[in-house]
Subunit: 190 residues, 2 copies
């Protein structure tokens, strides 16, 4: 059985070299040199880490059947050999967002912000996996962690994706966001 749970550990060790780490909004995370990402696992696997985040892949919350089919038809899996550029973006949304009903969130997410439409433009160049952490125990520092990878030539496409999303009405509900850019180091075995 494949794990739905993933750990993201920042510290001195890990297969991913941190090239930049910036606080888009809210409280920062301690700066680290490397990040390890594991399927499954637990906190105790990373005794020296400065921070350990975790998230679970889950069912889709907002897509319609048609959008889901379109996404499945276009998306690529993480881990393509040439996709050496990686980004991890943990975010937390405001209490106001979570007090909205599902249909109100969908209205802002897609009808106003075109989140799915914007995301589709970068497929399959940018591979993406969304991890949920809002209901993963306490303290819940973030609601979501999104992991991306792409080949260096598609960096511009990725920057456009991130910039477009941050300019949407949906992002007015983001109260904490950290942007980590990583480079996969094949010399470090997992």
């Amino acid at each position: 059985m494949s794990s739905r749970l993933f750990h993201f550990a920042g510290g001195a060790a890990g297969r991913f070299v941190v090239e930049s780490m910036s606080t888009v909004c809210g409280a920062p995370l301690p700066l680290v040199e490397r990040v390890e990402i594991t399927a499954g696992g637990e906190r105790s696997l990373f005794p020296g880490a400065a921070w350990v985040l975790k998230g679970m892949t889950s069912h889709e919350r907002y897509v319609t059947r048609r959008e889901k089919a379109e996404l499945i038809g276009k998306q690529a899996a993480l881990g393509r050999e040439s996709a050496t550029r990686t980004a991890i973006i943990p975010i937390r949304k405001t209490a106001a967002w979570w007090s909205l009903t599902q249909e109100e969130r969908r209205e802002i997410f897609e009808e106003q912000s075109r989140h799915i439409r914007i995301g589709l433009k970068s497929l399959p160049a940018v591979a993406r996996r969304l991890h949920h952490c809002r209901d993963l125990g306490e303290p819940a520092e973030f609601d979501f962690i999104t992991l991306f990878d792409y080949v260096p030539e598609n960096a511009g496409l990725f920057e456009d994706l991130v910039a477009e999303l941050r300019a949407t009405p949906e992002w007015a509900y983001v109260e904490r966001e950290i942007d980590l850019r990583l480079c996969y180091d094949p010399a470090v075995s997992s």
Copy 2:
């Protein structure tokens, strides 16, 4: 800050005396004599427990703004002094349910099954708190744990609620369900 995380520990100790424990479908849970329910906490607080379940309260997934207002207007909080009858019902839904889109789940949940309508009929007599556990780590034995309490005179209303929900199309997607009926023991301090 009040905790969104709750633990439910079954064993020889706890403030709730188990009056019955039945497996509606799927694998059973070990039979126990007592149950403790705590806000917050962690697994290690219950060293002798036969099982420990946990779940988190979260935002609503299916209600419309109008339904939410109606629920808030009618519902009662758990823990009323005379509400000595308690039930805990953990359930897990099928992979088929989770592969549906949000709008398909809502269609089955309310338009076909009248889950919210049925629930409203028992308000405020039956108090209820829903805990999510699908995205709370692994192994995820259950997707939800619902806790109910009511005065003994409203037992019939509660039985109607449970029976009506189990007869809905939504319940075809329930693959594991345990039904625990408890009685609060005021002689045991928390």
